[in-house]
């Protein structure tokens, strides 16, 4: 969850010693510390121009917010004074749009009109005028080091819960990898400080694109009985030696389903190179 704190007065942020969030969480602690050594949040930044402080909270079973519950942000100033600030979580459900077309990692031979379809039943549950909802569809193209914006569309919720966008062939370049994002956005007219966004994404390729993420099959003759994922940056500077970073796989539970480990390994390596 993204938490943005706007300070109205100059110097307020600088006088803060600690910030915490308290309330009833799913299973665990009743307080989350946002800053300092005990922080459980990722510090995203401080914008001195707008006086906005941003944190990202990783929600898990320990820190599950509850719909309709009130939580308290507590600011402890360096002079010892405490200032509480209450906010309400309007909708704590984490329900992501489900992209049904095209298939993940689908390969298109050449640039062409591509239909993207998704379902998302959540929007149809609000019809009381208190929620303003929309979908933001975003197409990005992979570049040397990241993804760049290419094309977008905004849609309003449909009663069918089925959505469709056609990416025009003119927006696509041959021999490229693309990522589409579908983001559900909800503003709450009676709780304007709470803003819900849930985003899902999938990739597809156009033309003769070679993915830098590869699954290498097991090769007992070469000395290994299991497959492994590799990722390499094609555009890395060849004037310097490169290092191989090993990301060992760990799963929370044992399993007899090898596909479970394949999926976990792909997630591990993707999160690894995203991070570095």
């Amino acid at each position: 969850m993204l938490l943005e704190i706007h300070f109205e007065e100059e110097g307020e942020y600088e006088s803060i010693e600690s910030i915490s969030v308290s309330g009833e969480f799913g299973h665990g602690d009743e307080e989350i510390v946002l800053n300092g050594e005990r922080s459980s949040a990722e510090f995203l930044g401080w914008d001195s121009g707008t006086r906005t402080l941003s944190y990202f909270l990783f929600l898990d079973n320990d820190y599950e917010f509850e719909t309709g519950s009130t939580y308290t942000l507590t600011f402890l100033a360096t002079n010892g004074t405490e200032q509480p600030y209450d906010f309400v979580i309007e909708d704590a459900r984490r329900d992501y749009p489900n992209i049904t077309e095209p298939e993940a990692e689908e390969q298109f031979a050449a640039p062409q009109d591509i239909v993207v379809r998704w379902t998302h039943p959540i929007a149809s549950t609000y019809r009381d005028g208190k929620v303003i909802e929309s979908y933001h569809f975003l197409l990005e193209r992979e570049t040397d080091s990241n993804f760049e914006w290419v094309w977008y569309r905004n849609l309003f919720p449909a009663t069918s819960n089925n959505y469709e966008v056609t990416i025009p062939a003119t927006a696509l370049t041959d021999d490229s990898k693309y990522r589409v994002h579908v983001e559900y956005r909800a503003h709450y007219t009676e709780n304007t400080e709470y803003f819900k966004k849930v985003r899902t994404w999938m990739d597809f390729t156009v033309g003769d694109y070679q993915d830098s993420l590869q699954l290498n099959e097991a090769d007992p003759e070469a000395g290994y009985h299991f497959p492994f994922f590799t990722y390499f940056n094609e555009t890395a500077n060849t004037n310097w030696p490169v290092y191989i970073m090993v990301l060992p796989l760990i799963t929370g539970e044992p399993s007899e389903d090898f596909n479970f480990f394949l999926r976990s390994a792909e997630q591990t390596i993707r999160s690894g190179y995203d991070r570095f």
């Binding site: 005990r38 820190y63 480990f261 390994a265």
Partner: protein, 221 residues
């Protein structure tokens, strides 16, 4: 350049992804024999692939892991220190491996110590090579998610303690006493198993940036 081996975690006594002592002893199924050596074979294939693409590939490896995958990382580094340039390991399944073979007259066996490392791996413990490895170990002081193994649990508690906020300072002291000043230990105050990993990301990234900046071209050969 990243590599993730798909070693499974089957429902057997050996904790395979942690490269524990039972894993190193496995003879059945044959696919699970010495996964550390299997990983080295995978690395060689990837290295050849990169070299064919024109990359000059450093001989030694980076490892990054948290929890069980950190246990794998640090244990691999203790077995094959000559292959590791740097590793970051958070939590390490509770008790990190120590560079000692006995404690008050008791053998400290792998994966708590290195007493039987040669019997398990055919390799003697090479502390000189390990001193050349850059290492960042970390844990949350409120992390109570331990992997219990009766084979070494009591001795681990006796040597290091039973809570993270004493285990890691004690481990750090033992590393220092054995000349492993290359191992940095950081304890994140008040954080638990879920919250430590994300909180540590900036430090982990910085650790590898620093490791890259000081790693010389000598590591190529």
């Amino acid at each position: 350049m990243f590599l993730c081996p798909v070693f499974p975690r089957p429902p057997i006594e050996a904790y395979v992804p942690c490269l524990d002592h039972e894993t190193l002893k496995l003879t059945d199924p044959p696919e699970l024999i010495r996964i550390d050596l299997q990983l080295i074979a995978m690395v060689n294939v990837f290295r050849n692939h990169l070299e064919e693409k024109g990359f000059e590939v450093a001989k030694r490896l980076f490892f990054e892991g948290y929890s069980g995958s950190a246990a794998f990382s640090i244990r691999f580094a203790f077995i094959h220190p000559e292959l590791v340039e740097a590793f970051s390991a958070g939590h390490c399944a509770g008790w990190p491996i120590l560079p000692i073979s006995d404690y008050e007259g008791k053998a400290v066996n792998y994966p708590l110590g290195i007493s039987d490392l040669f019997e398990l791996t055919g390799k003697a413990f090479n502390i000189e090579a390990l001193r050349e490895v850059k290492a960042f170990l970390y844990a949350g002081s409120a992390d109570d998610n331990f992997h219990f193994d009766d084979d070494y649990l009591n001795l681990a508690i006796e040597i290091l303690g039973s809570e993270a906020n004493v285990i890691w300072p004690n481990a750090s002291q033992i590393y220092q006493e054995n000349g492993l000043n290359n191992i940095t230990v950081r304890l994140y105050e008040g954080l638990n198993h879920s919250t430590t990993a994300p909180a540590a990301i900036p430090d982990v990234v910085q650790f590898f940036r620093d490791a890259l900046s000081v790693s010389s071209r000598n590591s190529l050969f």
